[in-house]
């Protein structure tokens, strides 16, 4: 019995190692390619390790793209989208969960409908709105679609629904008005959900490519993902440089994940979604 459980364990570990290797390999490939020359990266048969660890492509990508600007734009994009998602979704989620008002059901149904539609449907009307406001090629344009989050409203509504009614009633009796009940009593109880929403919004905003490319054409207004996309050529691509740029782009997210991985995993587990 002991022997079979030991060999079972070995098999499980082998499978896990194999799975991990499959997941990690693309990142390792990206890492090693960033130190290769272009011929090395295109050689057949392919080589994993570079012949030498050269930093040329890192220097080249830093001079070709205004990385500091790209980082800054991305930080602003993530920051404002997260703030807007949390603030507006919290208030809307609270209203849908705890307040009684006419048309509540209809409004929430509209939000659910928006969630079920692909986001690409809204690209043209959103672009037209930003263009009419004369705000193309601005940071506001980047943030614009993220001002409201249907998913955030739905997600936080569920959280507020789980808070017992008596807590709100106790706050009301203690002397809180509606606003005080929300921000002094209810909102602090949604910490875990807000952290999860923050992480989801930040990750999505960080990787958002289509909208930044559509709404901005000035490279100094690009985010990291849009900036990296400019490294792809029409006919050829300098893959080592692209890999170097990608590594530089993902570094902040990796660091943040390492710091907040518990909340990230809890957030995914809580929603059952990616």
């Amino acid at each position: 019995m002991k022997h079979s459980s030991k060999s079972g364990k070995i098999l499980v570990y082998l499978l896990l190692i194999l799975g991990s290797a499959i997941m990690i390999f693309p990142f390792l490939w990206m890492f090693f390619t960033s130190f290769k020359t272009v011929p090395e990266s295109m050689s057949v048969p392919a080589t994993i390790f570079p012949s030498a660890f050269r930093l040329d492509k890192y220097k080249e990508v830093l001079s070709k793209l205004p990385f500091v600007k790209l980082y800054w734009n991305t930080i602003l994009l993530v920051f404002f989208r997260v703030i807007c998602a949390v603030v507006f979704s919290s208030m809307a989620g609270y209203a849908f969960a705890k307040l009684k008002f006419r048309g509540k059901g209809l409004l929430f149904t509209i939000i659910l409908m928006q969630m079920s539609l692909p986001s690409q449907i809204f690209l043209i009307p959103q672009y037209q709105m930003v263009a009419k406001m004369g705000l193309v090629n601005t940071i506001f344009a980047l943030v614009f679609p993220g001002l409201v989050s249907a998913f955030g409203v739905f997600f936080l509504r569920q959280t507020y629904l789980s808070i017992p009614e008596e807590i709100g009633e106790a706050a009301y009796l203690d002397g809180c008005n509606q606003w005080q009940t929300f921000y002094k009593v209810m909102f602090p109880l949604t910490g875990t959900s807000v952290a999860a929403l923050t992480i989801f919004t930040a990750v999505f905003a960080y990787g958002d490519l289509m909208w930044p490319q559509i709404v901005n054409n000035d490279v100094t207004k690009f985010t990291l993902s849009a900036g990296l996309a400019t490294l792809r050529g029409m006919n050829t691509t300098d893959f080592p440089m692209l890999m170097a740029g990608s590594l530089l782009a993902m570094l902040p997210m990796v660091i943040l994940y390492l710091i907040f991985q518990r909340q990230f995993v809890e957030g995914i587990a809580g929603t059952g979604g990616k």
């Binding site: 009633e169 106790a170 009796l173």
Partner: protein
């Protein structure tokens, strides 16, 4: 500390849009004991009660009787559909809860999970922009009264049920409210803790000078805590009185059955009027009613009729021999130490008889077993005479 006057207080829950449509189509309605009108479901019907300053009033009744709804209307958490509510002579129907100078203890405690015990108790005072040292004084004083000083820095999740309940009471009393409302505060506690906390509430009442309105479904809590109890059923007040009054003189069969443990025995009997005196006759037992009951029935000119006769289990007496007794057959005899509880069948009904194991002469009562016959009798003062529609004929 304040007097309250509830005048014709009514609560109607309006029909929803779907229910209105269903009613128009004549669809069968959901079964409920409450009155349903075109306006809606009447949860509380014309509730009239005057509560004296510093009185401890208990609203008691089965689930769905309207007691919590009444309490919530006093608190301002439910809109009053009809009638008037006065606190200290001021009409407060449209006054915000925070301006009514009332505090409430919830069944589920409703403590703020993200705040410490200190912050929970200080919260209502901070909202009123009270000076910090005054807040500190009040919180520590209340914590001292409730013996929770050592828990002030803890969060609610680190407390037991009884401790949380005390914190909830503490959060209410720091405000020194005119009226303290308690909505089944002991329901979530186990039996032992409930007994303990009941005693704590009695002690608390002695320490703080305020008017209490307490809601419970437990008749033991009602009897032990209340100066007066209000028994409710299906939205209506059944009776208002001191615990002893409602125990000795229940207004109807519902009150008679609800108050007292075990429940009052009910028999199909006859009220007889012979030679200007009233008698009750059940099975082979005929008993003359006591003088006070004679007077009460005479004053209302109550005719002889079929009645429901109520006698409490502890008021049934074991006769030594048959003859003018009610014969019962023992189903189960429970030895309780100083008492025996007989579950028997008499005159086609299940009855409970409680007798001491030792009689007044110090002699042990005979032991009885299943199938044995009991000869039961009762005094004229221990009878409760109800009409067939459930009213106490003495009222």
């Amino acid at each position: 500390m304040a007097a309250l006057n509830l005048k014709g207080i009514t609560k109607i829950y309006p029909h929803s849009a779907d229910q209105k449509k269903a009613r128009k189509k004549g669809a069968p309605e959901k079964k409920t004991n409450l009155q349903v009108t075109a306006e809606g479901v009447i949860a509380v019907q014309k509730f009239d009660l005057d509560i004296k300053d510093k009185e401890f009033i208990v609203l008691v009744g089965p689930s769905g009787c309207g007691k919590s709804t009444t309490l919530r209307m006093v608190a301002g958490l439910e809109e009053i559909s009809g009638g008037e509510l006065y606190i200290d002579g001021q009409l407060v129907n449209d006054v915000e809860p925070k301006n009514r100078d009332i505090a409430m203890v919830f069944q589920s405690y409703a403590l703020y999970p993200h705040m410490t015990v200190y912050d929970n108790m200080a919260f209502p005072l901070k909202l009123r922009k009270m000076p910090k040292d005054e807040i500190d004084r009040r919180v520590k004083e209340a914590a001292e009264i409730l013996d929770i000083t050592q828990y002030l820095s803890r969060k609610p999740k680190a407390l037991s049920g009884g401790q949380r309940q005390r914190v909830a009471i503490g959060r209410a009393i720091v405000r020194e409210p005119k009226v303290l409302l308690m909505d089944e505060p002991l329901s979530n506690l186990d039996a032992k803790l409930r007994n303990q906390m009941r005693a704590e509430i009695i002690k608390l009442r002695q320490k703080i000078n305020t008017t209490f309105i307490y809601v419970t479904h437990d008749q033991t809590e009602a009897m032990t805590l209340g100066d007066r109890i209000v028994i409710m059923k299906d939205g209506f007040i059944q009776q208002i009185g001191t615990p002893q009054e409602v125990f000795d003189h229940p207004a109807n069969i519902f009150v008679a059955g609800f108050i007292g443990m075990p429940q009052m025995n009910m028999f199909n009997a006859k009220l007889l009027s012979e030679g200007g005196k009233y008698f009750v006759s059940v099975g082979g037992c005929k008993t003359e009613l006591s003088a006070d009951k004679q007077a009460a029935l005479s004053s209302h000119k109550v005719p002889a009729q079929d009645i429901t006769l109520g006698v409490r289990p502890s008021h049934m007496v074991l006769a030594k021999a048959p003859g003018n007794t009610l014969t019962a057959t023992v189903d189960v005899a429970e030895m309780m130490g100083s008492e025996i509880h007989f579950h028997a069948n008499a005159d086609g009904r299940d009855v409970v008889v409680i007798v001491p194991t030792m009689d007044t002469n110090g002699e042990r009562v005979d032991s009885f077993h299943a199938g044995d016959k009991l000869n039961l009798t009762f005094s004229g003062s221990a009878c409760h005479v109800f009409s067939k529609d459930g009213r106490n004929l003495e009222f």
